[in-house]
Amino acid sequence: MERIYSTQYYTFFQSDKERCFYIDLGQKVVRLSFCQLLALRQKVWSINIENHFDDDFNPHGLEILSLCNKEHLFVLNTLEVLDLKELLTGSLFLLDIAAQTPSLTA
């Protein structure tokens, strides 16, 4: 398993042998197929971080994230969300599959 990118809280790995990815999210390590990685990317990109700073929309600044067909459930605070966004940005860039933020969320 090869480490691709690390941020303050998380680390992203690729496994050539299993043809999949792993993310160490601190509480546990999550295994993701490529299509599950795409789904995670879509979810994380669509998180509106501005709402975390607005008491009306998100008073507690928390985000509930379910991964891999609801196999895993994470509750992230604002800093963790920002860190996860950074992890994906860096990892996808290094894997040469970076693209602009999906226009779907615009």
Binding site: R19, F34, C35, L38, L92, D96, Q100, S103, L104
Partner: protein, 170 residues
């Protein structure tokens, strides 16, 4: 290190994002035509209503074509969330003007994806979208021809009835 992404998906991620946005746009166009069909139906413009129902179905077909393509290529097609559909029109002519500007927006969006696919050497996407380029030319022409009828025949009660019947015959 294996290029797992390339092994799993035959199009570029950037193209996938743009195609997902296009799915959203086609879905919205379909819903918008449905709103136009409803407006025409309620006011007795039966020809135009039939035409708009058919357009709504056609846009949905376009959406599904792109949706299937994204998934067939190993991508992650997103079912669109449709909101803010306009149901208010002041005249039959405005309905068709709105339809034309909607088609122009779709054409521009398709062109943007083709340009991006060319830039990224994503030739599969470019090839797939060729059909849409031709289709959009036809769609724009259809709407323009209908709008020409208003210039030719006028905008009074009887003229509107004749235009509506003519659209029905097409």
């Amino acid at each position: 290190m294996k290029d797992i992404a390339r092994q799993q998906m035959s199009i570029k991620v950037e193209s996938m994002d743009m195609l997902n946005a296009q799915i959203q746009m086609e879905g919205k166009a379909s819903a918008s035509y449905l709103a136009m069909a409803s407006w025409c139906d309620q006011r007795g413009y039966n020809g135009s209503a039939d035409f708009m129902y058919a357009q709504a179905a056609e846009e949905r077909e376009h959406m599904m074509k792109i949706f299937k393509f994204v998934n067939d290529c190993g991508g992650n097609a997103q079912s669109p969330e449709i909101e803010n559909i306009n149901h208010d029109f002041s005249s039959l002519e405005e309905v068709y003007e709105t339809a034309l500007s909607q088609e122009i927006d779709v054409t521009k969006s398709i062109n943007r994806i083709v340009a991006s696919a060319k830039k990224n050497s994503d030739f599969g996407v470019e090839n797939f979208l060729q059909w849409f380029i031709t289709e959009q030319l036809e769609e724009e022409k259809t709407m323009r021809d209908i709008l020409d009828l208003f210039e030719l025949m006028g905008r009074d009660g009887i003229a509107l009835k004749l235009i509506d019947e003519r659209i029905s015959a097409e």
